[in-house]
Assembly symmetry: C2
Homo-oligomer: 285 residues x 2
């Protein structure tokens, strides 16, 4: 469990840092980014928000473009951003190097099918290996919240709904809410999990939310002008599921916003406050 620091930038009196490490579950070298707010110290460990990015992203997109660091520094929340897939020369990619399968498109599942299953175990990486690494090396406590965008919004919702004991709250920006019924999800799940496998439903936020008895507070932000809204994201499936199970889901339709980081940056402060409230860092006003 050694990690190697490769970059370091002061920001809002805290520190943004990137590290590499050898991942056991992914069977390759991985890079992640961490933001440590100024409050974080060995005497004052802080909670962590795990951020899962969308298709084509790395650990860098959210840290550079998300506009989250000011609020994280103010509230005293660390942020950890993993990569979106295993990486490296030995890791298989899609034959056509498609943006929505293989490198940059791990979909936060544990692949069962060759050639993917040797490396594409992003679910276990995010739920288990990465937090253990973070909690061993940084001044953080074991209080976790999770958030993400698009493919990463799907990942955040699925991971929180399947592990309600590990997360205090979950939020998502434009999540792929019902992957078993959209092209992105069908393509990735077919490749990683096999055709029509029962396991698909274990990675579908709407399926999970409809049946869960868990009650982790959840908030979803969706832009009304998002090009992927109808075909890929399908938030109505999630809303329907929340209604069935009476799930505490706050859903915000943001008029005129699209799928970009400009949208995320405009609402990330609200999401960090939502997490801070559920972490007990601030009180409801």
């Amino acid at each position: 469990m050694t990690i190697e620091n490769i970059s370091c930038n002061k920001a809002f009196d805290g520190w943004h840092k990137q590290y590499t490490h050898q991942s056991t579950v992914l069977n390759c070298a991985m890079r992640f980014a961490v933001y440590l707010p100024p409050q974080a110290s060995s005497k004052n460990p802080v909670p962590v928000m795990y951020w899962l990015s969308g298709l084509t992203c790395t650990d860098e997109n959210f840290m550079q473009k998300g506009g989250a660091l000011a609020a994280a520094a103010e509230l005293g929340i660390a942020i950890v951003a993993p990569d979106t897939s295993p990486r490296g020369e030995n890791v298989p990619d899609d034959e056509k190097q498609a943006y929505d399968l293989g490198l940059g498109a791990g979909f936060y599942v544990n692949a069962t099918q060759a050639p993917w299953n040797k490396h594409y175990q992003m679910y276990d990486y995010v739920v288990d290996e990465l937090p253990r690494l973070i909690e061993a090396h940084f001044p953080v406590n074991s209080q976790r919240v999770i958030s993400g965008h698009s493919m990463g919004g799907h990942g955040a919702l699925v991971i929180a709904l399947r592990n309600p004991e590990l997360y205090r709250s979950v939020t998502a920006f434009s999540p792929i809410s019902n992957p078993i019924n959209c092209a992105w999800g069908k393509k990735a799940f077919s490749a990683y999990l096999g055709e029509g496998a029962d396991v698909w439903k274990q990675y579908d936020a709407s399926e999970l939310m409809r049946k869960t008895t868990a009650r982790i507070p959840a908030m979803v932000e969706q832009g009304s002008s998002d090009d992927f809204l109808e075909e890929q994201l399908k938030p109505q499936a999630l809303l329907k599921a929340a209604k069935v199970s009476n799930y505490p889901l706050t859903f915000n339709m943001a008029d005129g916003y699209d799928h970009s980081y400009y949208f995320i940056s405009a609402f990330i402060e609200k999401h960090l406050h939502f997490h801070a409230l559920n972490l007990g860092l601030i009180k409801a006003q």
Copy 2:
């Protein structure tokens, strides 16, 4: 003076947009970005902050990574970010494609030497052509402020000091403060302006500030852990010049910060407030 819209993203209730246009002074097609805050309308034109980026950047870096849009939206200031050099297949680049000469490195001067002089006229583009275009096409007034980073901090200071009637205030992040005495400046000025030309001093913020009688409020932010501080940026030359001319320069040394956009994002709100104060949008507290 036609412009073509190529992208549009809602952000903080305002709009980030990119446009292309045929530049007369640069003799090529150019792209620029504009952020219009929610207050901007034909009945309520808003002031503009021109942002000049550093080496290797385009119109995108500041808009995506600067973290400026929240404060711009709150204060009612439009932001315009041009590219950092002329662009296109017909525009000459450095033979070795160096990052500090040619494409991405226009240094905001009017080149006099071949092969640069046909296109590299960034000073006239920023001072004259671009503002005329902006004021003709967008709901802005003629009140301008200017800011920039590194090579763009140099550009902002030089342009404001040479055109005190056009700008209400100027700020710079880690500016190249004395280009006639650093490697970046000597290389670029030799190529664009010729060896040892008298005109060099007309593009040197320290030379200009030492002799000016202008009194545009100026603020400079510098990270103390900036790798380029001693060799390239030389803020002490600017401080010495300000002392000689008794110039109203506020200089902030930010302990531990580097040359990156993480640094800029941590202080851009303060700079926008400085501009807003000088634009009369807010009052001193």
